[in-house]
């Protein structure tokens, strides 16, 4: 039980060398801070269970069609009903249909809200309880059932002032009046954040619309079932459903994930990669401190030898040296915790909005526990080798050296160099990872999304549920709005669409080429469907490649026409002229439409996503209920916001306006995740640079002072200062070369795991693999140059006399 004494002595030793202690603490704090911060995010986003009872049994249930590259597609209601009836491993299921709708009621103007149409089974299945009132009954979840709504805690506060009684509380949703039946707990969400209203789904078995895929299905596994068993059973059910409904299901099958995995699907890999990068930084910090301790151990050989001569067993010496390491690690951990708490606050503020539960990351007991555990483990990791080595003094040799500066020998030197090689290798991996992400981000920003976002203002004009929602009124209202806005000063062109590029896949439909030899009569391809109004393509800068754009004459009484995008044209009319050909589009109704023109592709959801076939209809023939205005300005956008809103209000003072943002903000949001990853790994790369150069500098610098007599001898034997410079630089270069070679091999293996995070750059990108080592080699040489300069000024006489 010498720990207290060892710790006390350790603290005194550390206080006696403030320079050494400060550098070691800084190195540890950097590694520990980054690791703790990212752990906190990983913990909140990936590790913490969902705040729902038995959340580990909750499932997200999709459909997939590998041939169409649809891995997690919405579910057709007909299949939801089939699964619910037949599945034995999933004890209950609920279905969700996400929509946007105008709502009114209580305080405030009509506003656009996220609304979910949900089955009555959903809330009981999730195990959530209302803070007030009740959920839907089965009777209410039938077509034509009583109109009831459940509202979010925030809507209850916002519009109804948190009233204690729900009696007589009503909400107008999409023109229908709904009685408010219950209020959900604050912060409740399932897969879509920010939903304010839930209304019954009211599926009617046998409805033709049940064949379209638009439902999100959530299920709860039976107790004792496993994901694998559920998947097996669902696969069998999928085959059955193909046999029963080949027209709907050929090529499709169920695709099942846990709800938690589903929530973090897009962020899991990047977060683990970031955590791994932090782990490498922490390892680099440990290597640095281990090296510093080895160096210090060399200076303390005599003290250790004297202690051994006085009877200290080796275990005591090791214990004493480890106690110092532990103290250092705890100090570094504490500083790292402070750094990490500040960093995680910055990350939650500046992180991308689509990382679920990111806001919950922050300083908490788990973060503290992690920092403590990481400190203790680090202390043992970086303290063990120096302690083992330092405690193994050759008594006679050391004591006989007297006051002379002893050389710590080849083993210690090799050990230090090996540690730096490992450190450089880790730095190479982090740097290459960062390089790949930064290049991805640059490529993404430079890539054309298929339109020109500069100088374009967008704003949503939700018609759904409002007085402009009747089909005839929709066309008239939108035409009037666009005519007025196009006439505003500062507007070059204006149009509208029901789904902006880079803002989500939106609606889709099966289609076939009339008279074409489709792949199979029961297996129609799928395209994204958009309605456009006004001068949409010109306002967005989407090129018309052939044929004509829509005109005001393309109305309900004219021949139905569509524009298709280049992807559709190439895939279905290879080498042929699509203009004038006809498509059969299967939506809620079957429409036969003629192709009037071909326009350029736009990215519908994300830059790294594939190009979808797209069919554009004129608003005059397929009136949209959720319009987003697109206004290309000749000058600044800000004055246009109030001018455009003013024109809309003049037409209808009650028409809500939402989501006012420049198109560049839409693009910006689409690259936010990549930018976030690139910035974070960029910061880690900077830390890696710093740690690697510190490591090289430390080792080379110590070697120069330890080898000053050798350098003196060499100079006495004819070495020129340039020879000495080259000798010392060579040492740094050799370590850098070994580390880089090792790091390249490691990076080659590890960056493959980042493939899904990259855009336009392969994991083995030659440029990154060449540039990062060159940069690191330059840093390594610079770090060895300073001690080399010092070595050149060593006076041989002084060095020899020292001996």
């Amino acid at each position: 039980m010498h720990l207290a004494g060892d710790l006390r002595y350790g603290a005194r030793q550390l206080a006696k060398r403030p320079g050494f202690t400060a550098i070691a603490l800084l190195a540890l704090a950097l590694g520990m801070g980054a690791t703790t911060a990212i752990f906190s995010v990983v913990d909140a986003v990936l590790l913490e269970p969902l705040p729902l009872p038995g959340s580990d049994r909750l499932l997200a249930m999709w459909e997939m069609d590998p041939a169409l590259h649809r891995d997690r597609n919405f579910v057709a209601p007909v299949n939801y009903l089939f699964w619910r009836q037949r599945s034995r491993t999933v004890e209950s299921m609920g279905a969700i249909h996400d929509v946007r709708a105008n709502i009114a009621g209580g305080a405030g103007e009509t506003e656009e809200a996220k609304v979910e149409r949900v089955s009555a089974s959903l809330f009981p299945m999730l195990g959530v309880r209302p803070v007030l009132g009740r959920f839907f009954t089965l009777e209410e979840d039938r077509p034509g059932g009583v109109a009831v709504a459940v509202i979010s805690h925030s809507l209850w506060q916002r519009r109804f002032g948190g009233r204690g009684s729900l009696a007589d509380l009503t909400l107008r949703v999409r023109g229908g009046i709904y009685s408010v039946a219950g209020v959900l707990p604050a912060g409740f969400s399932i897969l879509e954040p920010g939903v304010d209203v839930w209304i019954p789904l009211g599926l009617a078995p046998g409805d033709r619309a049940n064949n379209g895929r638009y439902l999100t299905v959530v299920g709860r596994m039976r107790a004792g079932a496993t994901l694998a068993r559920v998947r097996d059973e669902m696969a069998a059910l999928g085959e059955e459903s193909v046999r029963e409904l080949p027209a709907v299901n050929t090529g499709w099958r169920p695709s099942i994930y846990t709800l938690r995995d589903e929530l973090v699907f897009d962020v899991r890999r990047p977060l683990w990669v970031l955590l791994a990068a932090c782990g490498m930084l922490l390892a680099m910090s440990c290597v640095n401190v281990a090296n510093l301790l080895l160096v210090r151990g060399s200076g303390r050989r005599k003290e250790i030898a004297v202690r051994a001569a006085l009877g200290a067993p080796r275990s005591r010496l090791i214990g004493q040296l480890l106690a110092e390491s532990l103290l250092l690690a705890l100090g570094g951990g504490l500083l790292g915790l402070a750094l990490g708490a500040a960093a995680v606050a910055a990350v939650t503020r500046a992180g991308p909005v689509d990382v679920p539960r990111l806001a919950e990351a922050g300083f908490n007991i788990r973060m503290f526990g992690f920092a403590l555990a990481a400190s203790v483990v680090s202390g043992i990791v970086f303290g063990t080798v120096p302690a083992l080595y330092g405690s193994r003094s050759d008594l006679v040799t050391v004591l006989n050296e007297g006051g002379r500066a002893g050389t710590s020998g080849r083993v210690s030197r090799l050990l230090r160099q090996a540690l730096v090689v490992v450190e450089i290798a880790l730095a190479v991996v982090v740097l290459i990872g960062a390089g790949l992400l930064i290049r991805s981000f640059v490529r993404m920003r430079a890539a054309s999304p298929g339109f020109d976002p500069a100088g374009v203002l967008t704003l949503r004009v939700p018609l759904s549920g409002g007085r402009n929602d009747a089909p005839g009124r929709r066309i008239e209202f939108m035409t009037a709005v666009l005519d007025r806005i196009a006439a505003l000063p500062g507007v070059r062109s204006a149009g509208a669409v029901n789904g902006l590029p880079l803002d989500g896949l939106g609606a889709g439909a099966d289609f076939s080429v009339e008279g074409g030899s489709g792949p199979s009569p029961v297996r129609h391809p799928n395209a994204l469907i958009r309605s456009v109004a006004g001068d949409y393509f010109r306002a967005m800068g989407i090129p018309l490649l052939s044929g004509r754009a829509f005109t005001a004459a393309d109305n309900l009484s004219a021949k139905p026409v569509v524009l298709i995008n280049r992807t559709l044209a190439r895939a279905f009319f290879p080498g042929a002229e699509p203009i004038g050909r006809r498509l059969v589009v299967e939506s809620t109704t079957t429409r036969v439409v003629e192709i009037a023109g071909v326009v350029g592709d736009v990215k519908p959801e994300r830059f790294e996503g594939e190009d979808w076939p797209m069919i554009y209809s004129p608003n005059g023939q397929a009136p949209m209920s959720l319009a987003t205005l697109v206004i290309r300005a000749t000058g600044p956008l800000t004055p246009l916001v109030s001018a455009a809103a003013g024109e809309i209000r003049r037409l209808d003072p009650e028409q809500p306006i939402a989501g006012v943002r420049p198109m560049e903000a839409v693009v910006d949001r689409a690259v936010a995740g990549t930018r976030f990853n690139a910035v974070l790994l960029g910061v880690f790369a900077a830390i890696a640079f710093l740690l690697a150069s510190l490591g090289i500098y430390g080792v080379v610098s110590f070697d120069v002072s330890e080898r000053s007599s050798e350098i003196g001898i060499r100079m006495a034997l004819g070495a020129m200062p340039s020879d000495v410079l080259a000798m010392v630089m060579r040492q740094g270069a050799r370590m850098a070369a070994c580390g880089i070679a090792l790091g390249l091999a490691g990076a080659f293996a590890l960056t493959r795991l980042m493939a899904s995070m990259l855009y336009g750059v392969r994991p083995g990108d030659a440029w990154t693999f060449a540039m990062m080592p060159v940069l690191l080699a330059a840093v390594a040489l610079a770090a060895s140059y300073l001690p080399s300069r010092r070595a050149m000024t060593i006076a041989p006489v002084a060095a020899l006399r020292h001996e």
Binding site: R410, R413, S709, R714, A716, L717, G718, M720, D723, A795
Partner: protein, 228 residues
Amino acid sequence: MITLRNVEKFYEGGYGRTYVLRRINAQIASGEFVTIMGPSGAGKSTLLSILGMLDSAWTGEFEFLGHQVHRMKPKERVELNKKYIGFVFQSYHLIDNLTVYENLDIPLSYRNVKSSERAAIVCDALDRFRIVGKRDLYPSQLSGGQQQLVAVARAVIANPKLILADEPTGNLHSSQGKEIMELFKKLNDEGTTIIQVTHSEANAAYGNRVIQLADGWILGGGDTAQAG
């Protein structure tokens, strides 16, 4: 070969200059075997360092093989050292991390000798000094006498005209010391000029002249010049 005129070395201190060497005048001809003797602190090793171009902070005139050393830049002095001088130290000063072979190779590598030639020269030296069996050993694996033997081999490997030896047998027992001194004698007989610093009268007897130093002054043996 060597002419020193009024060579002085001093340190500036709080109480004025402290002289290590004063008005040193001496001449040493090629082929001589000169011994510098004197009590500790007399300035023997300092004088040797100046002669070996390791110390450039001194005043006076120093001619070496016709070169005006006092007018030369440090880099040029190193070149002279490389070309003409070999060193042997009391504590051998072999490089711990290098094998015997590698230690012998160092002076050649600094003289830009091609590696194939270097290998031949080193092997020849190993043979000549009968240390072939030790070629792959590290200094710590050799006895003091063997280490000094390697140090002498290293000093002569580049075929210097002048060998400077600072207490070459100081750390050796008498039979080892004798062996080293015989070696010096042989080298001198073959034409190499040798200047040694020693306390040992027996070692001095191997030479043909003794320069006596005390408190930085030459008391005798500086050839024609005398202490002032």
